[in-house]
């Protein structure tokens, strides 16, 4: 029998399937993966340090650049943490608009997931379909705040401006389109034999492993753990809506795909309920022009597209935060990459990178 020797293959930081500047040192025995070590830091900008020399309002645009495909969710997390620290009450209408934007952004982010996953699995067509539909959401953001990706729309105390009729009408049209969109995805990818063969039973994360590595978001739910901050904490207006948490069974690549696909429909349901029950009123609380939260600290977490996003803010009573720490879900989730890849073939590593869905802006911070 032929003798084989282990060797290390560097994937990335410039590799099309690592979705950004993630480097993975893959240890191989022939074509089988023995270990996969993520190496990060190529996109480190020191956002936590930068925030220490900015006022609270100036910090918000930096959160857009964390997870830049779901910027609204990051705005929401930071603003809610500051509101908790400074005891600011947000008007109800603003809470509803925030939920609509956060859920739209969740769908847009899952579009990126589906697009890059299908692209990695050899179907460039899939990417075009997902990005075509993502464009519709980015156009909605363009209407509501003039920016497509780095929105900076959710502000401390509410939202930047009231939602226009045009935005509400087009959002309704998009929500009506979602079932047809998902049906089309099912016909193009979900039913595809190659797609299924590549994903079913590969890179399994068991329930125990997912809990051990503190995973969160769709990744832990695909392993069958019912853990969604929207449901647990009911922050903002989420307590008023009725929605389900899609769960997977065995935690393979397939489950991670299906869970996200089902989440798109759930997000659309939440948006529909928010549109139907949208209250009238102001969209901005009375926030002092010079915001000086009292001395102390606050931790607030929200469910962003990738999991549990937490902001820990320390105030020394001045206009600038003394310290900001960001608990980024993709960063913590990446710990599971090693055990996901072990025993798989090198070609399956690409699928594993895609379904764990790390976003380097958030990982490197």
């Amino acid at each position: 029998m032929a003798q084989t020797e282990k060797f290390v293959l560097n994937m990335g930081p410039q590799h099309p399937s690592t979705h950004g500047v993630l480097q993975v040192q893959v240890e191989l025995d022939g074509e089988n993966i023995v270990g996969a070590k993520p190496v990060m830091g190529y996109l480190h900008r020191g956002i936590e340090k930068l925030m220490e020399s900015r006022t609270y309002a100036q910090c918000v645009p930096y959160t857009d650049r964390l997870d830049y495909v779901s910027a609204m969710n990051n705005n929401l997390g930071f603003c809610m943490a500051v509101e908790k620290l400074a005891a600011i009450e947000v008007p109800e209408r603003a809470e509803y608009i925030r939920v609509i934007c956060a859920e739209l952004n969740r769908i847009a982010s899952h579009h990126v997931f589906i697009g890059s996953l299908t692209n990695d699995l050899g179907s460039a067509t899939g990417m075009i379909y997902a990005f075509r539909d993502r464009e519709k959401i980015l156009d909605l953001f363009n209407i509501i705040c003039g920016a497509r990706m780095t929105a900076h729309y959710i502000r401390i105390g509410g939202v930047a401006a009231d939602a226009q009729e045009e935005f509400l009408r087009d959002t309704q049209a998009f929500v009506d389109y979602v079932p047809a969109m998902l049906d089309e995805y099912d016909r193009i990818f979900t039913g595809n034999e190659i797609f299924q063969a590549r994903m079913k039973g590969t890179s399994i994360i068991t329930k125990e492993t997912a809990l051990k590595y503190s995973m969160s978001g769709p990744n832990i739910r695909a392993s069958g753990v019912d853990y969604d901050i929207r449901k647990i904490d009911k922050y903002g207006a989420y307590g008023k809506f009725d929605f389900n948490i899609p769960l997977g069974e065995q935690g393979d690549n397939w489950d991670r795909y299906i869970v996200r696909l089902k989440e798109i429909q759930e997000s659309a349901n939440i948006i529909q309920q928010a549109l139907d029950n949208m209250p009238e009123g102001p969209v901005m609380a009375k926030v002092p022009k010079v915001l000086k939260p009292p001395k102390g600290d606050a931790y607030h977490r929200v469910e962003n597209t990738r999991g549990e996003l937490g902001f820990y803010i320390v105030s020394d009573g001045s206009t600038k935060p003394y310290r900001v720490h960001i608990r980024r879900p993709s960063f913590v989730n990446l710990q599971a990459l090693d055990s996901m890849c072990q025993g798989m073939l090198l070609a399956d590593a690409v699928t594993a990178f895609a379904t764990i869905d790390p976003l380097m802006g958030e990982v490197d911070c």
């Binding site: 990060m40 830091g41 936590e48 340090k49 503190s214 600290d297 931790y299 320390v314 720490h325 608990r327």
Partner: protein, 166 residues
């Protein structure tokens, strides 16, 4: 956000650990503990069936100039319960037991805290820098941090303390 650890429970812990303290005037007081007893306290929080803190939601450190403070936000999925544990560390030699001995998922977060804040974690399986270059010799989140200057020496990017410009 769930319920916070009640004062009765805090008193129970205070009776069990002589270095445990909390500020009774705050609505949601953090437990302060001496660093020698930290690991034992965390084991109690994790393993007592009526607490069952199975998630380390946030692990970070703050530089207060005279001392460092480690901050641990724990969450119990079973009881929807929160608690914050804080430890003060000596500014000259910040060392603390690694929480990977109890929650394996804190590995990367501790490496990040080591990298950016310079806290050394004892008994950590793989304490290396995670975001900054391996040959970088400063910890940016410290309050007296001065950015290092990059220079290429012999084809390798190296980092140096800035020369005094004044």
């Amino acid at each position: 956000m769930g319920t916070y650890f009640s004062k009765e429970k805090l008193d129970l812990l205070k009776a069990q650990f002589d270095t445990a303290e909390y500020d009774a005037e705050q609505a949601e007081p953090a437990i302060y503990i001496g660093k020698e007893q930290l690991l034992d306290l965390m084991k109690v929080l994790r393993e007592t069936p009526t607490y069952a803190f199975d998630r380390m939601s946030c692990l970070t450190a703050v530089d207060y100039k005279e001392y460092y403070e480690m901050v641990y936000c724990l969450y119990s999925r079973r009881y929807d319960l929160w608690v914050t544990v804080k430890v003060k560390l000596d500014h000259d030699n910040p060392e603390v037991e690694s929480m990977t001995q109890i929650w394996e998922g804190t590995n990367f977060e501790e490496r990040e805290t080591y990298d950016l804040m310079g806290i050394k974690f004892l008994n950590h399986p793989d304490l290396r820098r995670i975001l900054l270059p391996d040959n970088y010799e400063a910890h940016p989140l410290q309050k007296d941090f001065v950015p290092l200057e990059p220079r290429v020496e012999g084809g390798v990017l190296t980092w140096h303390k800035p020369k005094n410009l004044s």
